[in-house]
Subunit: 689 residues, 2 copies
Amino acid sequence: MKARLKKSLAKFLAVGLVSSSFLTTQVRADEGMWLFNSVPKAKLKSSYNFEPTQEWLDHLMLSSVRFNSGGSASFVSSQGLVLTNHHVASDTLYKISTAEHNYNENGFLAATQSDEIKTPDLELNQLISIEDVTGKINGAIQENMTSQEASKARQAKMAEIEKESLDKTGLRSDVVTLYGGGRYHLYRYKKYTDVRLVWAPEAGSAFFGGDADNFEYPRYCLDVTLFRVYENGKPAKIDHFLKMEPNGAKEQDLVFVSGNPGRTRRILTHDAVEYQRDVAMPRTMNLLRRKEVMMQQYALAGPEQQRRSRDDLFGIQNSRKAYTGMLGGLQDPLFTASKKRDEADLLSRISQDSKLAPLKKAWDQIREAQTKRREWLTKQASLRSKIYGIAETLVLMASEDSKASGDRLREFRASNRESLEQELFSEAPTYEDLERVHLADELSRLAEDRGGNDPLVLAALAGKSPRQRAAELVAQTKLMDVAERKKLAAAGTQGIADSKDPLILLAKTMESEYRKAHEAADSIEEQERQAYAKITEAKFAVGGDSVYPDATFTLRLAYGKVLGYETDGKKVPAQTTLGGAFEHETLHLNKDPWVLPKSWQAAKGKMKADTPFNFVCTADIIGGNSGSPVVSRDGAMVGIIFDGNIESLTADFYYTDNVSRAVAVHIAGVLESLRTIYNAPKLAEEMGK
Amino acid sequence: MKARLKKSLAKFLAVGLVSSSFLTTQVRADEGMWLFNSVPKAKLKSSYNFEPTQEWLDHLMLSSVRFNSGGSASFVSSQGLVLTNHHVASDTLYKISTAEHNYNENGFLAATQSDEIKTPDLELNQLISIEDVTGKINGAIQENMTSQEASKARQAKMAEIEKESLDKTGLRSDVVTLYGGGRYHLYRYKKYTDVRLVWAPEAGSAFFGGDADNFEYPRYCLDVTLFRVYENGKPAKIDHFLKMEPNGAKEQDLVFVSGNPGRTRRILTHDAVEYQRDVAMPRTMNLLRRKEVMMQQYALAGPEQQRRSRDDLFGIQNSRKAYTGMLGGLQDPLFTASKKRDEADLLSRISQDSKLAPLKKAWDQIREAQTKRREWLTKQASLRSKIYGIAETLVLMASEDSKASGDRLREFRASNRESLEQELFSEAPTYEDLERVHLADELSRLAEDRGGNDPLVLAALAGKSPRQRAAELVAQTKLMDVAERKKLAAAGTQGIADSKDPLILLAKTMESEYRKAHEAADSIEEQERQAYAKITEAKFAVGGDSVYPDATFTLRLAYGKVLGYETDGKKVPAQTTLGGAFEHETLHLNKDPWVLPKSWQAAKGKMKADTPFNFVCTADIIGGNSGSPVVSRDGAMVGIIFDGNIESLTADFYYTDNVSRAVAVHIAGVLESLRTIYNAPKLAEEMGK
């Protein structure tokens, strides 16, 4: 359930002060989420006697796909087939489902190509090239600028570079901040926005064992789904796609993972880690549990409410479980002690070098930034609700559009407009009852965060209790209607000024406080960027070339070997089998969530029970890597990442290879189940061709 | 599910700064939880033309029973039968259940008296007398004492009065703080500690509709259970018990509720309400959701874990739902505005009277006390875990016992020793896996509250992560064994000093911080007591005799009429029927939690479908009232309280009779189901005789 972590992070932390990404040093074993333009070739050669050619790397990069909604995937046929996880697909399955057709629950198979179902708002990205633009970006910053000025100048330069690149190449162009501000690279993507559903198994097969088995191993999940990308109404012609290695990988084999890890924070200084441990993470946990309980309560109302809430609920539970593991890791005094020791070591080394010594003040800057984070933590002015988010976007967009692209809030820059509109004008359904519940809870949370006497809270509540106010807003808004959104967007600032829509009015009420919090966050992040750039310099100077940047939801290469492990004195095998799924079901008394779908029961006699199903490897992954292809030395597909074991949950802050494992669906299991369980031999046939 | 509120409060707030109880004025309609020695006779006469005689009141008082574990009940036969709610009984049902016999889930009926099951640690209280000791208590306080000194002197005097009374009468003797410190009454109880289970329905019948229907109406719950009290190994001979009114009450009938409301906070000043709204309640909500999610996660492990966690989980969910309603009420700007207005009105009235005017400073004292509450909120030093609680009690008891009874922490005073030991040496099972989960979570919470660098946190974790440390503590402690507890308790301070038990060592580590926080809480509460005593004086002066004290989990008389209501434009009838339960099941597609037990299905043809089942009335109740008998003008039983509707959840802070209702099981439904569903005609026969 890795991608969910990413997705839920995106959802839940979007409003808060989102950390940037950082770097680390002291790489051991199979650690590392490497940039495709900076692969540790010497290390691969010495550890595994493997030397990737540029062609090998380019092919893998071009065969890799990013789900912009939060996940990874790969091209697996010349006819545009894209393989990802069911749980990466699930928010799309949810959006195209209705009370009558629940594709998430019951699965789907397109009988012919013309039956493939068009999805409402998916954007798939194929990375085409990477260019270092660090010099250009840093050239925009003057010594005497305040953090806020520097942040604005930096963003303006980024927007300019992106716009220029978009105009020149027609490709989606994103400047990515790496090493927490130490480097800036321009990533160019080909976008696919006509994406159709080809096949999905039942949730009971993809998520067999449910929340209970999530992050556990051994596992038995067919967590895969097939889409197809189209261009001009026809299946897109794909040059770079992965061949299949139908026997997959076996224990001790070297494997590679090419995907988009969402966020790690391994570079964090000791002070920043303490802030996470004592303030940010406990707060996030409270938020996640709040939403989990709220969604469960909503789902009690009936089967339809259960369907409507299921995707979000699972995402939240997944994040909550992941965060529990992370926080547990941070609260381990051994970790904090080792962090302190490493830091003292680095500081003592740079003290001995008069050129590096001035970098020491970076640590003080990070400490100060944490204090500011504490101050701003509860002063956000937004509401985590889909329909409010739409109102907020419309209000902000109107004023942002009257500025030059480089001066706008980053999400409103010209080069991002298509992606923004893809989401804003999505025809995916909204549900009044669900929005009411979300809004009531968020109004209540706003009152808790800012205090019931806060003027913004009083204005937002307009003299009513959170529940009454939410009911009124949802009853009166017209923003559920996409046409209405388009009309408002087209009418610009005047349209917003004239609007009587209560949600638009509310977003306008909150706008100035929203901007204040946003600017504060920008300024804090800039301070951290500048400090982490110095820390990066120190680490490069001391650590040599064994330096990879923290995850940034951009394409990375990880590697490791297929390997079992030991936990609580028990040996855990590297691999499970299709037949094992039935044993696992029996062991759990065939009770929900351990109920294999009817399709499995029907195929029990037909399938080869000893077909490998799931396996684990030591590659360094995290949320966002869900759906990443796992490939062999030959670059052929052997599996698809879908989870990490519970011991790997500390990966946000540190990697270990003792018992931490990435969990993948074995390609043999995918092919065998397509043939024998899902009556889709043609799809199995098409894969790799 | 009212009593659960009380119980979970007791559990969850025991560690924090527990509010005392307060009073209110401006009583309207059927508002009020009246003292049995101060019943509003004139009001009853004028509203309902009813004048209770002293005999009527005494009989009802003596027929009423308090479950010391948190709930209400009544004697219903001369042979010691006690009728309460299933959800008041459920923690006992849980304690006497095993993996093989799940009495909570499947119900129980003793075939003969000798089959009645002895419960491990129930204490039932029958209120015998009330005596005003305000003068004695306040006489112990000198003008020049600090809050801390005054608190100690007050507690010493209370302990002295209790001890004297216990020695003289042999009765449990509790000095109760009323009107937030305005009055002190001595309550004397006869205790029953040999309590046996006679009959309980299945959870599916008692809690039909589960968490979804909880606090909703119309309802269809047989939320009742029968115990029998014994003395000297024989059914106790009971002089005062309730007669049955087999036809119960009908719409518009005057009814009385005699029970033990746990806590209300209607006297709170505006500042204290804001503290609750912005600080205390959001924190409690976070804690409840934390435990809810934790227990759900634990229950995923299998059916036995589900059984072990069910009672606590339901209690937590019940509290969470109740608190959601309460906080929503507090966040309603109309409520705060009316609170402010009433306060301004009272202040302006007492300003006009030079004798009363000095009382105004009480409001400032309350404001200051809230600031101190904020400061101490996260500085508690205890862990919410059953097994840690035992260690903590043993450690504290050893040193407290070396002091005079009056100088001890209140729970260790001589007059409370029996009740304390009843709990400490209970043979109710403890489960290692569950204790591990609780302890790990509580160590994590301690680290969140105090920060990971806090010396106490570091000492408690002993260099390990919360999970590892909890596993170690549970594996090595011997306190699961009651004999070990008794040995340690008997060995006194030397026993504690010599103990190598890791939980005893941990409790010793935490002891001084625990005492510091406890003293701070005492001092804050004393400051509030003195202030609320002044506010009470002001309210009595202005409000005349229409003043009842806030709830204190002591016996109160409420009254009102059986009455339907209107919500969302729909009329809600006052009463449901047994047959309606089947319709309700069908309406919800016979899906969990709307599945009536087999016993019901089997009896469907036999029972009279139009028998009244549940009903609502306007009486003023709150958590702790669960199990309270509802009686007619004639003092005969017409029903038994088990819930309040969702609109009544603000009752902690204010009463309304517009749509707020108390929900009760109709006595006709109880008798009919005993006869036709549970094959217990003899029990039905015995009731009232």
